[in-house]
Amino acid sequence: MTTIEEVKRRAEADAKTFGYYLNPDPNFLQGLLEGLKRNEERYGYPSCPCRLASGNLDYDRDIICPCDYRDPDVAQFGACYCGLYVRKDVYEHKTELAPVPERRPAEKQMRSYQSVSTEVEAKAATAPEREELVQITVGKKKLWYCKQCGYVVFREDPPYICPVCKAKRELFAEIKTKVDFFG
């Protein structure tokens, strides 16, 4: 099971890599780390504590912490949506932490609600099957991508840990190209 310390270490390492700081308010920070831990336990990945996740990795990929919206939000508002990652001036209390508006597109948010996601799935299920999956392999090597950050490698097995976002091996999937036999 993931511990708070692990979640914190991960966030600290990530902040360091990208030149950010973690929220300077210890209670605030603790609350967010607990939220991340809770989400990792119930969904299998640390989705954003301040957003409703669907529990379906395909729909939640953009809100796995650090989410796709962090970098533009820290640049523009001085903090990510939750306030976990902050800019130096906010960390040093030179700029006050202000509410950050939601940047995640509404269509994506809607996927966390049942009727909408079942509609999307129904659509996908009824779409005509015109493709066949072809594996790209050279010897035993295959293309693998990290479902969390998109990092791609060409090797026999997926890495134990993603060198970019530190996702676990389970988050790697093989890339298969789609060949269209239509016309």
């Binding site: 605030f28 609350g31 967010l32 607990e34 939220g35 991340l36 809770r38 989400n39 504590p49 301040c50 957003r51 409703l52 996740a53 939750c82 306030g83 509410p99 939601e102 509404a106 948010q109 809607m110 966390s112 609600y113 049942q114 009727s115």
Partner: protein, 94 residues
């Protein structure tokens, strides 16, 4: 739906907070209401059933508000998205 009620001496308005159990801004909103003795109800949406989540989505969207948390609905009319102390203060006459 599991609606929790928090008692308070200030019950001028009917206050409903849609929150997430993991979200710090939601906690701050609840705490702010409590500190000001405002009586309110809240629902932790992430702990609801799929059907309930959908009902909540409809409720929020029918008010023309975005789907963010916390969403505070006052007298089933005014909607405040996010922890906005200034807007809460004004709407609840604190």
């Amino acid at each position: 739906m599991n609606i929790s009620k928090v008692a308070g001496t200030n019950n001028k308005h009917k206050v409903l907070v849609y929150a997430l159990s993991t979200c710090v801004w939601c906690k701050m909103t609840k705490q702010y209401l409590k500190d000001n003795n405002v009586e309110y109800e809240y629902v932790d949406v992430d702990l609801c059933s799929e059907e309930e989540k959908n009902q909540i989505r409809k409720h929020i969207q029918d008010k023309g508000a975005p789907l963010g948390y916390p969403t505070t609905i006052i007298d089933d009319q005014k909607v405040i998205t996010g922890f906005r102390k200034d807007l809460l203060k004004e709407a609840l006459e604190l």
